[in-house]
């Protein structure tokens, strides 16, 4: 009797959680559509977006530049060590560039962007809600979704692909630094191998498309979690954590799906 009661409560719990997650997904999707619908103000008054671009994009530059450089250096080092066993160290430029523009650039930059800028967007909107700033704005007949949420969303969407591109460029330079400057691989080989192997449409454009998807996902999750946060200290901290966790999982999940579509069957 006791055991069966326990099993029932476990099943109830699971059911409850599933329903809650689906419900939340629905609310999130509706909010996403609402943000898109109310983006008119952001597009008409683009200076609102530019201001947010500074906070989300420009202030994320340092972490993106440094991480990109180091990831490229490590790729160059590891790639060279492995490739030289087979006498193909000249392909190290190709390895560095393809790894970066196809995968690491968009994915690692997105993970960093979610932690650096996504969490900041959530915390800011959540705190504005907790301190009644959003309510005050509504009472001043200014829609907070149009005035506060949409500019931050679009700033995230615009920043992400640019940051991913900068990440990849820094990675390629990092690889160059280690393999050409320190190890002594021929400079001409590094660049020419890269140039012949990297295809603009297949590699660079697909990487760019990936980073756009990631940008939309991170920005949408960040603004929703902030706007939906319970107006308390725990509420905002929980929402910030959820932004980072959900965005990271969304990035990895989306990356798999997009990679399957983009690169399957491409030799």
């Amino acid at each position: 009797m006791h055991v069966s009661k326990h099993i029932v409560s476990v099943i109830q719990n699971i059911g409850h959680r599933v329903i809650e997650s689906v419900w939340r997904l629905g609310v999130g999707s509706r909010f996403f559509l609402l943000v898109l619908l109310k983006s008119g103000t952001s597009l008409r008054r683009f200076n609102l977006v530019i201001r947010e671009l500074y906070f989300t994009g420009v202030l994320s530059l340092i972490i993106i530049v440094v991480s990109g450089l180091f990831v490229g250096m490590v790729l160059g080092l590891q790639g060279y060590e492995t490739l030289q066993k087979y006498g193909s160290e000249s392909a190290v430029g190709t390895l560095v560039a393809l790894s970066l523009v196809r995968e690491l650039g968009p994915v690692v930059a997105a993970l960093l962007f979610a932690s650096r800028a996504g969490s900041a967007i959530t915390a800011e909107i959540g705190l504005m809600k907790a301190t009644e700033q959003l309510a005050a704005m509504g009472l001043m007949a200014v829609d907070p979704v149009a005035r506060v949420v949409a500019p931050r969303f679009w700033a995230g969407v615009i920043s992400m692909p640019l940051l991913a591109a900068i990440f990849s460029v820094m990675g390629v330079l990092g690889g160059y630094l280690v393999t050409v400057v320190f190890i002594g691989v021929d400079q001409g080989t590094y660049w020419s191998q890269m140039q012949s192997a990297v295809d603009f449409r297949f590699d660079i454009l697909n990487g760019f498309i990936k980073s756009c998807f990631f940008g939309v996902a991170i920005a949408a999750i960040a603004v929703f979690e902030g706007y939906d946060a319970p107006p308390t200290a725990e509420g905002v901290s929980g929402a910030t954590t959820r932004t980072v966790v959900t965005s990271s999982l969304a990035i990895l999940g989306l990356d798999f799906i997009l990679t399957a579509f983009m690169f399957r069957g491409v030799s």
Binding site: L127, M128, E132, L139, A141, V142, D143
Partner: protein
């Protein structure tokens, strides 16, 4: 509706799911007066403000603002109506990413096409009215609690509204700031010809500046009158509230089972 009254509230009811917050409230708020709404914490005072501003819809009854039933207005009309309302939140609710100047200029920039030079003059005039013209360049985190509330007050009168609602304007202020805010409420109401609604439980300060008082308890109006009338009132609730007595119609103990039962004492003597 009389043109004397800016707001008329008729048989207003509101409940959160099954819990009734307001039960059949009737009020009239004449133009140019300071009206105070008093009551204990959780008595529905702030809910009443949210009903007047149309943030929430009543379950029955209505609020009329200048002849319009607030909850029947379309979203656009409601937003237009809100331009005639100012609201001072408990802790100011200043926009923390904007300077004092930009906070006061916010509504002017959002709702008018005034040139920036005129906005500058207007903002400085509004800040001068609350004595903070010299602080226009500061950020909200550089202000004291009392200053933040004065800036919020300047912001709420930015578009010369016909109504300002003050939600607990005296909470957490030192005696000087408290007097300053109290006198500003009275002075701005008189000079700008607005109507003010002050939701508060600061009896002593508010009775000095208001024209009429409503007491709300358990979702109904427990008493009403001019400050003189309520000071002299012998009604048990008003007496307890004004004199801050611990026990009375509002009990000290939250209702529950008896003390004896809670301590599992059975028939033993306590």
């Amino acid at each position: 509706m009389s043109s004397e009254n800016l707001i008329e509230i008729n048989d207003l009811n509101f409940s959160y799911s099954t819990r009734a917050i307001l039960k059949g409230i009737h009020m009239t708020m004449p133009r140019g007066k300071v009206i105070s709404i008093m009551g204990g914490s959780g008595s529905g005072k702030t809910t009443l403000l949210r009903l007047i501003s149309g943030e929430i819809r009543p379950s029955a009854g209505y609020v009329k603002f200048s002849g319009d039933v607030v909850h029947e207005l379309s979203r656009d009309k409601l937003f237009k109506l809100r331009r005639k309302m100012g609201m001072l939140f408990q802790f100011g609710a200043l926009f923390t990413d904007l300077s004092v100047f930009d906070n006061v200029a916010f509504q002017m920039r959002e709702h008018t096409d005034l040139p920036e030079s005129m906005i500058r003059d207007l903002v400085l005039m509004k800040l001068d009215a609350v004595g903070l013209r010299g602080a226009h360049h500061l950020m909200p985190n550089e202000l004291s609690g009392g200053m933040a509330r004065r800036v919020a007050l300047a912001r709420s009168i930015a578009l010369d509204p016909s109504l300002i609602m003050y939600d607990e304007p005296f909470t957490g202020l030192d005696p000087i700031s408290l007097s300053v805010i109290g006198n500003l409420i009275r002075r701005l109401t008189d000079t700008l010809g607005m109507t003010s609604i002050v939701v508060t439980h600061d009896v002593q300060k508010s009775l000095k500046i208001v024209d009429y008082v409503y007491f709300i308890a358990d979702g109904v109006i427990a008493a009403e009158g001019t400050p003189k009338e309520v000071m002299e009132s012998t009604a048990p609730f008003v007496h307890q509230f004004i004199h801050g007595e611990e026990d009375g119609p509002v009990p000290f103990h939250y209702s529950g089972q008896s003390y004896r039962q809670d301590l599992d004492l059975g028939d033993a003597r306590v």
